[in-house]
Symmetry: C2
Subunit: 336 residues, 2 copies
């Protein structure tokens, strides 16, 4: 039985494990520091489709198929899929996955979606409600730019705090298992809003949520940063990561020695002109389902915290003068 | 322990129950046949806010507060809230609920969101992961019209198959209990797409998904329509309901004697000029958390099927020539 400890943290007891994983990215991500770790990439930003949105659907389907293939499964073996993306009405997921015939739970957690889906998949498998679940999410630089900011053709200049939306997708297959990395604990975040209004500085908008979730988790579990091999955030980038350090230091928590961010792992900030780093649902999804899982396999990671972060705004809310609420969901992934 | 039976259906065993519920609607819904059953209504379509989107956020917050108050709880008692809406990036939920400080699971299931949230809340409570969860969703006629179709000022004519988006919200508080209506079974739907492309005929787009989920459920549970007091769909309206009957009759299933639809319950189709009936996330949410719950209290309902239906499209997907995929999630609600 799952059980809640402290205020927020849910401990799972039946080892819902990542038994399969897959990742797919675009050219820029493949050119980055961990480019060789992704399963698939494509030089064509439309991935053979007629639009960027259809390309994003293609990304999700490819990630799921790759993840299933790697653990010798097909879509018929999956009881439930947890999926979402950044596009209006999450069409990346619904059109990408409609042909698979898998019971579909649609999510919207902005860039926190990978951890959100992983958490729900783990809870559902842990409870015995289903045997096999999949969590998947995606983002695409071109579909995100034109929806959230400007069409690429506009050629607008980016601010130094801006981040670069990752073109990519990652999928995890979850089942009970004895010898794979498993989700030991889940901590759903609450919505945090410190009044940041700069839609070109998502790292700042999300850092308070990341700090709040981490503090809840450390308090609930009576653990400290040094107890983990690494603490990986989703897409705070360089600006948001520094803000996270500052917010945590006020509470006498120092994670610098253990922290990295998927948005800083996937791109070379000096060489790739991505300003404050990578972002998007596909950022933490593709890094988890490649870089992170490979290090569990090599034995480098045995006990980590993985926390995707999201900004729960829309262009409409920004135009109506609203600030940018953030959220961060955390999972503790372990292997014995 | 929850357990899966047949292909799709999950049976819950610890009676996750609807211990509190709340509804709030606009003027047109209050003028309808069940207008007196809603907890709150407001003649002002902006609900005192400056925009329709902010009004929708206000709706969700009001529904949650009403539901909590009715079972003598506050937001501090809630371990997790499952919420979503139709607005781009689900800002109805994120801005409506950000001040509550409740761990937040964002969903996107289009108009299927009430059953989606209810299912996940029930699964999470059933498993012991949390003690108290809330499911909430909303829609607003004015915010939906301008986002999906035309701004109201445009004065466009509506087709006969069009439905009227309900301005309303409903929230359910879920806890284990012995003497309240409880979620006995959950059946997540898969995405169904029979190629309907008319964005003014959502009922037709959603009916195949409704038929598929019902057939899975009847097959899994070895039950038939007559075993239930009522089978309530979310917002198929008159056109979609008739299509559902036809699709099921091909499989020798007749639900006419037991079926009703929230979109036909909430409005008087003859008097209220709503064409094929009500729709929107708030349709099934407000009808569940008023009309349906009242009939459990009066003893009229003891064992029902409740199934919200959603169309997983966006204006972008329609403009790119895509058809409209549908989805339907089902719960079996019982009281002993």
């Amino acid at each position: 039985m799952a059980k809640k400890i402290g205020n927020r943290t849910i401990i799972l007891e039946n080892r819902p494990s990542i038994v399969g994983y897959g990742s797919v990215v675009g050219k820029k991500e493949h050119d980055g520091p961990i480019g060789d770790e992704f399963d698939t990439y494509n030089d064509d930003s439309r991935f053979g489709e007629k639009s960027y949105e259809k390309a994003e659907s293609r990304l999700q389907k490819t990630a799921v198929e790759t993840a299933l293939k790697k653990c010798d499964k097909t879509e018929k073996d999956v009881d439930c899929i947890f999926a979402g993306d950044l596009l209006n009405q999450c069409i990346g997921s619904s059109f990408g996955l409609r042909s698979l015939g898998i019971p579909f739970v649609g999510l919207y957690g902005a860039c926190s979606t990978m951890t959100l889906g992983l958490s729900l998949a783990a809870l559902t498998v842990d409870s015995g409600a289903v045997n096999t679940a999949v969590a998947v999410t995606s983002s695409h630089f071109c579909s995100a730019e034109r929806q959230y900011r400007f069409p690429l053709e506009y050629g607008s200049q980016r601010t130094p705090t801006a981040q670069w939306t990752v073109t990519g997708s990652g999928a995890s297959v979850i089942e009970r298992s004895e010898n794979k990395p498993y989700i030991n604990a889940v901590c759903f975040g609450e919505i945090e809003d410190l009044g940041v209004t700069d839609a070109n500085n998502m790292g700042a908008a999300m850092a308070p949520a990341a700090a709040a979730t981490l503090m809840h988790y450390f308090s609930d579990t009576k653990t400290k940063p040094e107890d983990y091999d690494i603490i990986i955030t989703g897409d705070l980038g360089s600006v948001g990561s520094n803000l996270l350090y500052q917010l945590l230091e006020r509470q006498n928590i120092d994670i610098r020695c253990r922290h990295n961010d998927c948005g800083l792992i996937i791109f070379d900030l000096k060489k790739q002109d991505v300003h404050a780093g990578g972002s998007g649902c596909g950022c933490s999804a593709s890094v988890l389902n490649s870089f992170v899982m490979h290090r569990f396999e090599s034995g480098d990671f045995k006990n980590i915290l993985f926390m995707s972060t999201g900004a729960l705004m829309s262009p409409t809310s920004t135009m109506q003068g609203e600030s940018i609420p953030g959220i961060a969901h955390l999972v503790n992934i372990k292997i014995d």
